[in-house]
Symmetry: C2
Subunit: 503 residues, 2 copies
């Protein structure tokens, strides 16, 4: 490291090109083994990193080294200093947030994309990158039984974005500009956007970035009476009230599988409301969209035909490494009108011919990675049937966990489980009067349970609060998770509850 | 492929986990060799892909396969169908756009980040990802001799964004909101942003997304009298005129190394103008920023101390695979105020302690890849001195190319070369009267030269038009480029000129 520089004068290091094929081969093989070893040993690490804030600054030098360091030294540092600071998202005992499930095919796809390292801002900059993206997005759209109007074959089209926030921001800006072209730019302050209070915070952020007045951001309260789904009646009355105030309804973000509890908004009734007002509807199926490639889950997308755009994150639950958010729109021109720029240095005959897709005009950034590669690899390496079965196995494991907890009277399943997320808590009825004297309330006890489980390192779960209720979220989907991990997880939860509930 | 599914019934395929370590090892090694072979053979491919629009759709099935396909089959398809559709950015004969130069360290860093596949939205989700990012951004900031006020140690801080457009959008939104908090949201239509007509189109796009009125986007003409740099006098007079019209100056995007011709805007005089009006100055050094780690180029950043934010793309010219845009800001709180969201499901004790950096609040997206890993690997694997020498060698090769062309009277170097970009054209004096009868003008002849060179497949360059003048851009920076490629490139240019200029 830095202090060792004088021990490693430059002449000890080969002067080869930083892309020398032989050295690439040598180091590449070393790293493949390093990562394979990591997966083999992953259960040995505490799932949630146990380091303290600032730990790494104490271990690394204050400056970049002057001279080259061998890969072996660097990898030793990765093992000694980086791995302890990781929260192990690929661990079979990772049940936090939503999964970011990796796969060999996803990894290989990233390697190929990184190895080619093409910058596919427009078609001519690498035709294969653009064309493969259009093809796999049509493949995936078909798997989801999206209406043809979302596919290239039907006049719509799909694009791979980084994240849902990007997807929402791009479609929101398209909707905004479409509206402002009609009513005049000066009316930007009148535009109103809608969602429920269960909608992902990405929507609030996108609205903020797009210049929607914060006063016009409507997070309609979703109550327990609708299982925390957005009520079409509430939406309609909110819209009507805004219209009466002289405001202009613009955009609705509906969710299939909310982040807190994986609830599904009723798409068809919601779209029936919005179509009366010309509102752009985006459907965010970031997590649960993957499950909808299984025929038995597809009905959760019923009503999607009424939306203007739809997105889900293949990097969450479809074995495609971060990042890979799949977005389809019915009207690519709306996106292009807002997001295209045509600097002279990018002009080319293919673009002028209008026969090609230039994805730079479908996204925020100009430069773009060849993300279609990993999606293609995943679809081909596993095939549709195996992907469906893998997703089903995750749902079944979540069901198993739910059963294991439900048979223990101390716990309650707070929200009906649909996909692979179980929301549970220690039930108020399980708390002794004695214990309640020392604990503020049921939420505090559940928070204590959460922290106790995570501090153990044996598994990692996270929490949410809905309608004032603190609950624990158990999300199944890590690729290495097997039934034995689920059984162990239920034991861990119960053991920690034992300790906390016994006074 | 799709049609072969019946020949590959599922029972022929192993039922292992998609992240089985042994299979990971097997496939990982295959791919390392595949990519190493690609680099070894890269000069055999035409640099600019020669495929026709729609080529890939004719070669791939219409649907995703139902059953798994072996990696060997898929790789054969990559070789047969994808590689011909690539424009080979890693080729030593790639001189187009700006480079996206890869390296073994950059690749290895991506592999590690992809293998761990952590989602580092906040500190607790993977402490090492956040902390390493802060550390390497301070390292890099020191290398660039950025004022301490841009570093964490000085109250500022750095963050890795995807691209310059992200960096500009984030800082523009921060500046916008800071101003609107003062003057009221309803005044968004009065905000004015400034740049030159040589500024990258990313700024126009970011302004559009952030809701800046298109009428208030000032692309001040940069003339040949200032070598196409933005004139402080023009900036001041434009600002004064806007103020007289009751508008509110907000943001200036100055450039170190413009995309068309690598011109450097005069930072210090520009900042002297803006400071009188409280304007946020962002410095976009996307390409040329890398060179500024060399002491002899650092003076191009003089004046950066007057700016509010600074960014450059390590994925262009610092051997760090796409994408890796390094952004520093003096006032992280301005970013955080605009971009933070605090959903309950992400609340945690580390965040509450305010001892950690949660990078989700510094960027558009919530989820983020572990990009710091590759930057760290590049800095350590090569060390500062070697990196400087590599950059110098690119500049020297550009100089060599410039000399080789300058000694041929048919060519003229249009803009003084500073970094590794040579802007040249066939000189009007080289055109015979006979030829001019058949060609519209000098620009058409240069366009023909460009197309002829690119169609040959032997090298790839692109063009720009500045002040009505069509010129060819020759950007050196691909990692595998050696002097012999430069000499060959100059020969190719001359040979194609021979053919075009001979009538």
């Amino acid at each position: 490291m830095g202090s060792l520089n004088f021990d490693h004068p430059p002449e000890f290091f080969p002067n080869e090109s930083p892309l020398d094929p032989n050295e690439f081969r040598r180091q590449g093989h070393i790293i493949v083994d390093f990562i394979a070893d990591y997966y083999e040993n992953i259960e040995k690490y505490p799932v949630l990193s146990q380091v303290e804030p600032g730990y790494l600054g104490k271990r690394l030098p204050k400056n970049a080294p002057d001279y080259p360091e061998p890969i072996e030294t660097i990898l030793q540092d990765v093992q000694d200093h980086i791995v302890p600071g990781l929260t192990h998202w690929q661990s079979p005992n990772f049940f936090a947030y939503f999964p970011a499930n990796g796969s060999i095919a996803g990894f290989i796809g990233e390697m190929l994309a990184t190895g080619f390292n093409v910058v596919g801002f427009n078609w001519v900059a690498s035709p294969a990158a653009s064309e493969l993206e259009s093809i796999v997005m049509d493949w995936l759209g078909q798997l989801l039984c999206l209406p043809n109007s979302f596919l290239f074959s039907g006049g719509g089209g799909g694009v791979i974005q980084g994240t849902t926030c990007d997807a929402i921001l791009c479609t929101l800006v398209a909707a905004r500009d479409q509206m402002l072209r009609r009513i005049g730019r000066e009316n930007i302050g009148k535009l109103v956007v809608y969602c429920s209070d269960q909608t992902h915070s990405a929507f609030q952020k996108a609205s903020q970035i797009a210049g929607i007045h914060p006063r016009n951001f409507r997070a309609i309260k979703a109550s327990i009476s609708t299982s925390f789904a957005l009520s079409p009646e509430s939406l309609r009355s909110t819209i009507c009230s805004d219209l009466q105030d002289g405001l202009i309804p613009l955009y609705l973000c509906a969710t299939v599988g909310t982040t807190s509890t994986a609830v599904v908004d009723p798409l068809e009734p919601l779209c029936n409301v919005t179509k009366d007002y010309g509102i752009w509807v985006h459907i965010d199926a970031a997590y649960a969209g993957s499950a909808c490639i299984c025929p038995e889950f597809r009905h959760f997308l019923d009503g999607v035909e009424g939306a203007s755009s739809f997105s889900f994150n293949a990097h969450k639950w479809l074995f495609t490494m971060l990042d890979c958010c799949c977005l389809w729109v019915k009207d690519p021109n709306a996106l292009i009108k807002s997001l295209s720029t045509n600097p002279e240095f990018l002009r080319n005959n293919a673009t002028d011919s209008k026969q090609v897709v230039d994805y730079k005009d479908w996204q925020i950034a100009l430069s773009r990675r060849f993300r279609a590669m990993k999606l293609w690899l995943v679809l081909r390496s596993y095939g549709v049937e195996k992907l469906r079965n893998l997703l089903r196995s995750h749902v079944q494991m979540a069901e198993r966990f739910e059963e294991l907890l439900a048979t223990d009277k101390r716990f309650e399943i707070v929200v009906p489980r649909i996909f692979s997320l179980v929301c549970f808590r220690v039930s108020p009825s399980a708390i002794s009067t004695e214990l309640l004297k020392h604990e503020n309330n049921i939420n505090e006890i559940n928070k204590k349970l959460l922290e106790s489980i995570n501090a153990s390192g044996s598994m990692h779960i996270t929490h949410t609060v809905v309608d004032g209720m603190f609950m624990l979220r158990f999300a199944v989907g890590a690729t290495l998770t097997e039934e034995k991990h689920i059984i162990m997880a239920s034991k861990v939860v119960k053991e920690h509850a034992d300790a906390i509930l016994t006074f």
